[in-house]
Amino acid sequence: MALVNIDQVHKYYGDLHVLKGIDLKIDAGEVVSIIGRSGSGKSTLLRCMNGLEAYQHGGIVVDNKEVSSDEKQVRLLARSVGMVFQSFNLFPHLTVGENIMLAPKLVLKLSSKEARALAEDKLDKVGLAEKIDEYPDCLSGGQQQRVAIARALAMSPKVLLCDEITSALDPELVGEVLRVLEQLASEGMTLVLVTHEMNFARDVGDRVVFMHMGKVWESGPAKEVFENPTTPELKSFINAVL
């Protein structure tokens, strides 16, 4: 069974039909980029994968756990699914180290010492070991996002969801975040990215999913999709963004 199984998912916001029967399977170790125009439903789909958004029909199973927006189920899923946000969402009143240690201590019941070691390890991975005792607002946007990645990794998720994580960054800071993702991909981490970084999607991603009007319009191996788009909608989208 695939790591992520999305089966005929429909979602409505009131009368607005935002996801219209999504089918998608993602295997462990895959790097999948979800691309599409704004309003195509890509962020919504991502947020359905860990229960941040409820869906009305169909089913999503991640790591053999049924996804629902039920409070208990979301907490259970947090052990399998990590998430990084466009706006970082670091806790500003806590240091970088405390940001990372909070959930391992409270949820995984690690001791302070174990949690600290874990935080050091994950920060080292994103190249920010020396920032452990700084507050987030002393860091650049790129550094904050790398801390957010380290914080998600500290829960040892099976899959990491990235919701436009470079969109709020100054252009010169995008590279450092993408390099972290590239390294994670090379280590076999399963990544699902909603992204506007087309070069990254093409060069690092295994698969690209193009969403349009709430549907998976086209999907396939990353290079193939970019070189030979079959639908006119994807052709015009690629022309517009590349």
Partner: protein, 216 residues
């Protein structure tokens, strides 16, 4: 007629002001405790509890404090409870304070980005952990200045307790005036004492606002 020196008047007013302070502290502490409970209920995500809190807040914000005092004082006696003016004033002011603090804190919590809740959820924190470790530590910084600022309203609100016969600063002023017939002098003194109580509070509120504005 008895002769009162200025010192006699001031001394009696200051003695009565102790009750103004006691009533303010009681109302503020009680209001904080009830307000925290109401805030937790409001954030619990349970609809009936949220409606209850909203009704409570609207009721106490939408009626004069004086009517609340009357209702507690005379209402409870009608129901057969023998309630002192002190207890009635303490209860009414506690309800009043809790309603306003709940509303102030709602605003403070709502200014925190939704992403703070979402990030906590994605990390597996439960509601209580999210509230105590992520939301409240941030909200407290924002809430401190307006909360201290509101305490001024509580101090001034205690003056109404004089109407149900509780002898605090205002009531003492009225009584002294009845004996001396020097209303301007006496009520000027009363006002000055209220000012001496309230001014440090509003000053503290302004300081706190500066301190926490825009910093973590």
């Amino acid at each position: 007629m008895i002769e009162f020196t200025n010192w006699d008047i001031l001394r009696n007013l200051l003695l009565a002001a102790r009750w103004t302070i006691a009533l303010s502290l009681t109302a503020f502490i009680g209001g904080t405790i009830v307000g925290l409970l109401l805030t937790a209920m409001r954030l619990s995500g349970r609809r009936p509890l949220q409606w209850l809190v909203r009704g409570y807040v609207e009721l106490f914000q939408g009626t004069p404090l004086l009517m609340q005092l009357f209702l507690v004082f005379f209402g409870l006696s009608l129901l057969g409870f023998d309630i002192s003016a002190w207890a009635a004033a303490a209860f009414a002011l506690t309800f009043f304070t809790s309603a306003f603090l709940t509303e102030i804190w709602r605003g403070c919590i709502d200014t925190l980005p939704r992403g703070q809740w979402e990030a906590s959820r994605c990390l597996g924190l439960n509601f209580k952990q999210t509230l105590s470790r992520v939301i409240l530590p941030q909200a407290v910084r924002v809430a401190l200045a307006p909360t201290v600022g509101f305490s001024v309203q509580v101090v001034k609100g205690t003056a109404l307790a004089s109407i149900i016969g509780f002898v605090e600063l205002t009531k003492a002023g009225t009584m002294l005036n009845n004996a001396t017939f020097e209303p301007f002098k006496i009520f000027a003194m009363v006002a000055l004492i209220y000012f001496a109580l309230c001014y440090p509070l509003s000053l503290a509120s302004q300081r706190l606002e500066k301190k926490f504005n825009g910093s973590r």
